[in-house]
Symmetry: C2
Subunit: 248 residues, 2 copies
DNA sequence: TATTTTTATTGATTGTAATCAAGAAGCGCT
DNA sequence: AGCGCTTCTTGATTACAATCAATAAAAATA
């Protein structure tokens, strides 16, 4: 009850997430045609795999509930966390040019997805310019997310990386119409560390410091932002009262 | 004469880069229709700006000769190098969802581009499924490049980052049919440092070390790879004879 | 060619996060 | 609820790259 739960229905026109998904901008009649392509799959349990690196690319997936972590399995054993996907996000487009998935998607929680066979989607999008544009838009959004990821990693200090990361999480919540001050986030420290190019120990230490200073509280998969302005200052290395006790 | 120069002509069908560009997979007659959209612009000089962050998005650009560095101008003054684009690469698609360029492209050398108005391209691609697919493919390639970028940045050691980066540069040369052992690369140490999340000093030191150990030589914008296997080992932190003088 | 500016190199020092290690807390399971 | 495994926290130490600084080398300019 801490979180507004969007309504999902069997059909796209009634789906609470349609503004974040392929239907954006489409006429109702067009949505119906899209809807006909969608295969709604039974819920996946935490740890279940949606697709695995190397599998043939056949469909894209819209996250309805829960969330997914996406990894590359690196030759040298160590996996990299590429990203994670929350309700309204589209998964799988990265396989488009290779015809093979290049990453593995694992459910972070009990999760549901809509599966859309890509061939059908491509075909329909040739008939519906708005859908075609939306597909391009989604790819473009993926690109800007990945750029954000690079942005995190390019930051030199661990504090900056984490501050920016937390603000970005919050933005994503806001975009979805959720509470962006206090929300659940099912990531382990290890995941965060992998994503930000840090170690779990450093993540722990920095979060402890943030907590001490009253910036944010991140305990047991629940994140609360107490002082957005100072977090923002930290994220953009405008070192005014950054490390000081409190500015006001 | 050190480098095979691809043939560019006024028309796409005869362009030496067509296999890397939009014409890939199209029939000759289809290429003609694409060709009709292309505006060939006069050469840009080193330092000239192709597009600037904030400008309205109207066209995408195919690099014919030279190369471009792409930056974001960050609020906090410091710019980030997002990427750089060589002949055969497509520039500008990142602006697709915002209708505004989100980055600034600067010529690294004397450079030429083909400009393709995006509205026209979009329209034509609805009629030519192969072109539509190629547009998606190009976006997908952008995405995987950006992922590679994140991959560099996530590497903890400066040596790994640089080794991987150099190998990646080499791959790009190979993809274009150029010599991938020895080639020109018009990047400053500062650019490399910005791209890899390091400082110019560190770049300089690591390159000096690589040179001492006979791995690579990178002097005055010319890069030669002497020992790919060991570079590869370094890039994947399989520390066998990595720091030792020489294995064989 | 001479002059100025930019970029690269090299050295000394510092700071920050990785690493190693051990105990505490949380979570899933029967 | 209790047990066992995973994850988190905290501390001590080390390694690595950033920073500061000053010279050398290239480019750009005139």
């Amino acid at each position: 009850m801490t979180q507004p739960i969007p309504l999902f229905n069997a059909n796209c026109n009634e789906c609470g997430l349609k503004k974040l998904c392929f239907p954006l901008g489409l006429e109702k009649s067009e949505v119906l045609r899209l809807d006909a392509l969608v295969k709604r799959k039974p819920a996946l349990q935490k740890g279940d795999i949606l697709f695995r690196s190397g599998q043939p690319f056949q469909a894209v997936y819209a996250v309805k509930a829960g969330g997914f972590k996406v990894f590359t399995q690196h030759a040298s054993g160590e996996d990299k966390l590429i990203g994670f996907y929350l309700p309204g996000d589209i998964l799988g487009v990265d396989a488009l040019s290779t015809d093979e998935h290049v990453s593995t998607a694992v459910a972070m929680d009990t999760s549901t997805v809509c599966e859309i066979p890509f061939k059908d989607l491509e075909q329909l999008s040739l008939q519906l310019p708005t859908l075609n544009r939306q597909l391009l838009s989604i790819m473009s959004k993926e690109l800007s997310d990945e750029r954000m990821h690079a942005e995190f990693l390019a930051r030199k200090s661990a504090e900056e990386r984490l501050a920016l990361f937390i603000l970005w999480l919050s933005q994503r919540q806001a975009r979805r119409g959720f509470n962006d001050e206090s929300f659940r986030i099912g990531l382990l420290h290890r995941d965060v560390a992998l994503y930000l190019g840090l170690t779990p120990e450093t993540v722990s230490r920095v979060l402890a410091k943030f907590s001490e200073e009253g910036l944010v509280e991140w305990r047991q998969k629940h994140l609360t932002i107490h002082h957005r302005a100072r977090l923002d200052a930290l994220a953009n290395h405008q070192e005014e009262g950054v490390c000081g006790r409190i500015a006001g």
